[in-house]
């Protein structure tokens, strides 16, 4: 394997690691907090919201937006590290 290819493989591996972590968060806030465990979370309150309901109709969307911007930052750094920045 050439240097160039090794570099590409290492970059791809780190990229996959980020993806798995970020998608795990994506799954937990929406399918976890908003759907599967909403009954349990509804025992808690956030102001006038039951917590599970809040995640389903508000919270998950906020987290989605944050997730994408975190991804953009992480990837920009990763691009620089491996010299793929342009």
């Amino acid at each position: 394997m050439s240097e160039k290819q090794k570099n590409a493989t290492a970059y791809w591996k780190e990229n996959l690691k980020y993806l798995i972590i970020l998608l795990l968060v994506w799954f937990i806030v929406s399918f976890g907090c908003g759907i599967l465990f909403r009954e349990e979370l509804n025992e808690f309150r956030l102001g006038g919201f039951k917590l599970g309901f809040w995640f389903a109709q508000q919270g998950s969307i906020y987290v989605f937006v944050i997730l994408i911007f975190v991804y953009v930052r992480l990837m920009n750094k990763l691009d620089k590290k491996y010299g793929y920045d342009e």
């Binding site: 929406s30 006038g48 911007f69 991804y71």
Partner: protein, 588 residues
């Protein structure tokens, strides 16, 4: 000034703006026509994507659907936003690096097969046409509701406008008009929301007002839950769908969103891979403004509606109620003869829509011939919640007119984006890539323009003569996209070993399975069936999730039993995984 004058004024100004932009952003080459020359800034692309994405359904219907479905409506909120996370992380950067014009381009090249390309073109056309017919209808409804013109003339006006900026500017013209349309639609959506939130909860931010308190210090949502329980409805913050079905529908909508061709193609228009990622973030941020406000509007309007009509004398009811009754979107029949409106759980009608007779009842209400025996006396069309909201809350006339202009912006921007995908599929994927590879740039552009013209005529025809199944099918377009494109694209990027045999069999089985399930349970073909007969207790809306899983399993199994893809395709996969440079990734 009257509502109508205001509406003509605002609609006129916004339309003039769209035309102006279309003339300014004329397209000269196919690259400009298909992907706006690949030079759109991430912010502009984010706005255009948001406008493209938020259709008449998001603007007009979604808050209404949520206000009637309560917690169950969450599937749309999470499904139509969560898909952008998938899009940003799993699709957009790689497809941008691939750097062609369309989704079938990617499928055709990645799976080195014209069969795969053709399957993709057919899927793209099915999805886009079902979608665009709904938009044209939306344009017609707004025109007829607010400007008192015939619904068909409304459709024709809408067609002409879309045609002008699509023909002149292609993707370039559409992108910049969509930027303007985003501004119009979000302003139109937010202004009434601020007003109503302030009125009801004293907090001007609707997202906070929704969790705030009303007069008397009670939390708004608790009050609404109590009202619902008293009237025999389900608690607003709980739901009626099974947890599994909510899960399946949400996942199908998310993956469907990420697989919709008219959304994906937007990420071909930015200059760099970096911009594609960023642009998806801006798009979701701009979409989230509407999507977090919609559930607040749903709660406000639901509470307002119940308080205004429940157990009130028909004679004392505000005038908006009677106006919407005249347009056929509200129906009341005084079943117990007490002159008051009983609004409780249960359907007030036999069938889905009220059938009016010409007669008027004792209280002056329009009589209907299909009242049910249930106690509930009131039918309210879900679509009116956003449109009627400003009137219910007594807002000034210009706000009501603004909502009309916003609804038109939402419908037109989505229609334009879809029509472009349709014309590109024909001129680029079919003619240039398959029938006539030697066609010149200029001739291809001409074909693209003819294709757009034909596509608008067909869309307009469906707008004027809507086939009964359109509404049902639009919701299922997501299931179709989830069952066909999404796995083929994801596997194409993340599984280097995936080959044409695997992808084609997966796509074909996925879409056929989804179509079959949809026809069986939605259109009553192949013996039909009720919710009792659903497979794995999954509704047709959520079945895309299952069809997608089947697609993935079949693709993987078939690909492992057939030869690996050729070396040059494997090199291509390596190359799209790396953001920089358009050249090769490996130096074997």
């Amino acid at each position: 000034m009257s509502v109508q004058t205001w509406t003509w004024l605002l609609v006129g100004i916004t339309f003039a703006l769209y035309f102006g932009i279309a003339i300014w952003a004329r397209a000269g080459s196919t690259k400009e026509f298909y992907v706006a020359g690949g030079g759109v800034s991430p912010w502009a692309n984010g706005m255009a994507t948001a406008a493209d994405w938020m259709s008449a359904a998001s603007f007009i219907s979604m808050a209404g659907i949520i206000s009637f479905a309560g917690y169950d409506g969450s599937v749309y909120l999470m499904g139509w936003t969560g898909g952008y996370v998938l899009l940003a992380l799993l699709l957009a950067p790689y497809l941008r690096k691939f750097g062609k014009f369309t989704v079938p381009d990617f499928i055709g090249d990645r799976y080195y097969s014209n069969t795969a390309r053709t399957v993709a073109v057919i899927c793209a056309l099915i999805v886009s046409f079902t979608y665009v017919a709904g938009q044209m209808r939306g344009v017609g409804i707004v025109f007829s509701q607010f400007l008192q013109v015939d619904i068909n003339i409304g459709v024709i006006i809408g067609m002409t406008v879309v045609l002008t900026f699509a023909l002149l500017g292609g993707m370039k013209g559409i992108t910049y008009t969509q930027v303007a349309q985003y501004c119009v639609l979000i302003f139109a959506f937010m202004v009434p929301a601020f007003f109503i939130s302030m009125q009801m909860t004293g907090n001007i931010i609707p997202q906070l007002g929704m969790g705030g308190t009303v007069e008397g210090g009670e939390f708004l949502l608790d009050k609404l839950d109590k009202l619902h329980t008293q009237l025999g409805f389900n608690e607003y913050t709980s739901g009626t769908k099974s947890t599994w079905d909510v899960f399946a529908i949400t996942l199908a909508l998310m993956t469907g969103t990420a697989g919709l061709p008219h959304v994906i193609v937007r990420f071909f228009t930015v200059p760099k891979v970096k911009d594609a990622r960023k642009s998806a973030g801006y798009a979701l941020l701009l979409i989230a403004i509407l999507y977090t406000t919609a559930p607040a509007i749903a709660v406000f309007s639901r509470t307002n509606l119940i308080e205004t009509v429940s157990d009130k004398e028909y004679a004392d009811i505000p005038v908006w109620f009677k106006n919407w009754e005249d347009t056929g979107l509200i129906a009341w029949s005084d079943k117990n003869g007490d002159g008051k409106i009983q609004y409780v759980a249960g359907s007030s009608l036999d069938g889905k829509k009220p059938i009016y007779t010409d007669a008027r009842g004792l209280n002056g209400e329009r009589m209907i011939s299909n009242a049910s025996t249930a106690q509930n006396e009131l039918y309210v069309d879900r679509d009116i919640m956003v449109l009627a909201n400003p009137e219910i809350a007594n807002l000034p006339n210009w706000v009501i007119a603004l909502v009309a202009a916003g609804g038109l912006a939402a419908a037109l921007s989505t229609a334009a984006g879809l029509l472009l995908v349709i014309s590109t599929s024909v001129s680029h994927d079919l003619i240039k890539k398959q029938l006539r590879p030697n066609i010149s740039d200029k001739a291809e552009l001409k074909v693209a323009r003819i294709a757009i013209f034909v596509a608008i005529l067909i869309a307009g025809y469906f707008g004027i003569n809507p086939p009964g199944f359109v509404a049902a099918v639009v919701a299922l377009a997501f299931g179709l996209a989830a069952a066909s494109f999404f796995p083929a694209i994801i596997l194409g990027i993340f599984d280097k070993r995936m080959n044409s045999q695997g992808a084609i069999s997966g796509m074909v089985v996925g879409i056929v399975l989804m179509l079959f399930y949809m026809m069986k349970f939605k259109l009553n073909m192949f013996g039909g069936g009720t919710s009792e007969d659903w497979w794995f207790e999954t509704s047709p809306e959520g079945f895309g999730t299952i069809a997608m899983c089947v697609n993935i399993v079949i693709s993987v199994v078939v690909s492992r039993m057939t030869p690996a893809p050729p070396q040059n395709v494997q090199d291509m996969v390596e190359s799209i995984r790396i953001p920089s440079g358009a050249g090769e990734a490996s130096d074997h």
